[in-house]
């Protein structure tokens, strides 16, 4: 339909131009050259002009989905173990020395990437401070000797192949640095919920409701 219209408009235009060619040229020569160019750039061409819609390109690009607002964080599906693969595993690295803990967790993450094990998440749990109190022989009052901070990092693996597992664990154990505890557990929903802060007002309101 549009093609036919264009062809018709072409035909029309050719006739129109022939007739009003002189007029057109005259009008251009009269106007100021700069004004003329500005006028042309601000005006949109009429539908019958062959150059109608000449600068359009948006219709050629692929359709983008409309931008959604950030949704509330949902828990990722916890995978179950099948015959050949383990489910979602949490590899927890904890220790007093933050440098060693961080470097070791980074090493585990890189190793998984290299071996092709999918890493679902990699996060840190809040640091726990332990106060070491010393009681002197003479008195009864305990005083603070030192503050030890325990750092924890978790690397969550999703599909660890059962054939790869012994080799993977061996490499991990042999490269464990001094003073670092390594623990591998199944990921549960309780673990996920423990990461969130407690909201006392909300809990109070919920208790009031029930």
């Amino acid at each position: 339909m549009q093609w036919r219209k264009l062809r018709a408009s072409f035909a029309l235009h050719s006739r129109v131009l022939d007739q009003a060619g002189l007029l057109f040229r005259a009008s251009v020569s009269v106007q100021h050259p700069i004004q003329g160019s500005l006028a042309f750039s601000n005006e949109r061409q009429y539908r019958t002009m062959p150059t109608h819609g000449i600068g359009k390109y948006k219709h050629l690009l692929p359709k983008e989905a409309p931008k959604k607002k950030k949704e509330r964080q949902q828990m990722k599906q916890i995978k179950t173990a099948t015959d050949a693969e383990y489910g979602t595993l949490n590899v927890k690295v904890s220790g007093y020395d933050m440098i060693l803990v961080e470097h070791y967790s980074q090493y585990i993450h890189n190793l998984c990437n290299r071996l092709g094990v999918k890493v679902a998440e990699s996060y840190a749990l809040p640091t726990k401070s332990t106060e070491v109190m010393v009681m002197p022989e003479q008195g009864t009052k305990m005083y603070v000797d030192a503050i030890l901070k325990t750092h924890e990092r978790i690397v969550q693996l999703s599909q660890l192949n059962a054939t790869l597992c012994p080799t993977f664990m061996e490499v991990l154990l042999k490269n464990q640095p001094e003073g670092i505890q390594l623990s591998v557990k199944l990921h549960t929903e309780a673990d996920y919920q423990a990461r969130f802060k407690a909201r006392p007002e909300l809990e109070g309101l919920m208790a009031q409701m029930t």
């Binding site: 015959d83 059962a162 054939t163 640095p177 001094e178 505890q181």
Partner: protein, 292 residues
């Protein structure tokens, strides 16, 4: 084949919880590894009606490793580099709280000793003198450090026998046992013959537990074997039924264990294996023992 290879896929994986701790020098000289199974599904053993039994005898062997207890010694290059990095870090770092306190205290002391010292002004700023200065704390800490005696890194000074578990604490050691195979007594990884109705991993566990006068608590990491050694019997022994034997190796880590210091056991490093194992056997075993 009486299905030992596919046992791995057959047996449903049970959930496990592993807790590994690496502490300093402990008396046992062994890293504690605890493994507990949360729920173990019933092992399904596939019973196949066999037409012709295979001519290979099957053995399950265990490669029991004791993980290193302390860190390895550094090379001279590693030493130099570590020192260089430490120096660079020190030069680039900022002062910590404790160091700032030290500086402030020393400044305050110099100001006190100056002639135009105004104690009222000072106290107004600081709100009362602190009784313990940072320097005092440092002195007490140094005193405590002097009391602390770290254990010796190298316990081999006396020359521990090869059978001791506490040999080279910086390396991982493999257990070797002397067993009679055929006519000879040779050193090899502990093994046991496979019996019908059990998985190969259970065979390996049995091989380990049946060692005389030793109770090693081992943690097997998975159901999959890590290596195979296949050999044919010498021609005199060969019959139609058994042409040779296949040995499947499983990896395990020593979690706790003690053994009397008797002859049959050897804990060796990977580099020392050559002196004890036969070459074709060693070739296959070498492939799966990591030298990390």
């Amino acid at each position: 084949m009486a299905a030992p290879c596919s046992r791995m896929a057959n047996r449903p994986l049970w959930q496990f919880i592993t807790n590994v701790r690496r502490t300093g020098l402990k008396h046992t000289g062994v890293r504690q590894i605890s493994l507990s199974s949360a729920c173990r599904a019933a092992t399904q053993t596939r019973s196949k009606t066999e037409g012709v039994p295979s001519p290979w005898k099957l053995y399950g062997a265990v490669c029991l490793q004791r993980l290193p207890v302390i860190s390895q010694e550094r090379n001279p290059i590693e030493d130099q580099f570590a020192e260089l990095m430490h120096q660079m870090e020190l030069e680039r770092s900022l002062l910590s709280d404790h160091e700032q306190r030290l500086l402030e205290d020393s400044e305050r002391m110099t100001r006190k000793q100056a002639d135009n010292y105004d104690s009222d002004e000072e106290e107004a700023d600081y709100g009362g003198q602190e009784t313990i200065t940072a320097q005092d704390q440092e002195d007490t800490w140094e005193q405590k450090l002097k009391h602390f005696q770290p254990a010796l890194r190298d316990r081999d000074v006396g020359g521990t026998p090869l059978g001791s578990v506490e040999r080279c604490l910086g390396d991982s050691l493999v257990l070797l046992v002397q067993q009679t195979v055929g006519k000879e007594t040779i050193w090899l990884l502990p093994q046991a013959q496979w019996e019908a109705g059990e998985t190969l991993r259970q065979t390996a566990e049995r091989g380990l537990s049946s060692l005389p006068e030793a109770d090693f608590k081992a943690t097997f990491l998975g159901n999959t074997p890590c290596g195979v050694y296949r050999y044919k019997f010498p021609k005199e022994v060969r019959t139609e039924r058994c042409v040779g034997a296949k040995v499947f190796f499983f990896k395990a880590f020593l979690s706790a264990g003690s053994a009397s210091q008797k002859e049959p056991f050897l804990w060796v490093k990977k580099t020392e294996l050559q002196g004890y194992l036969k070459p074709p056997y060693l070739e296959k075993v070498d492939r799966f023992i990591l030298n990390l």
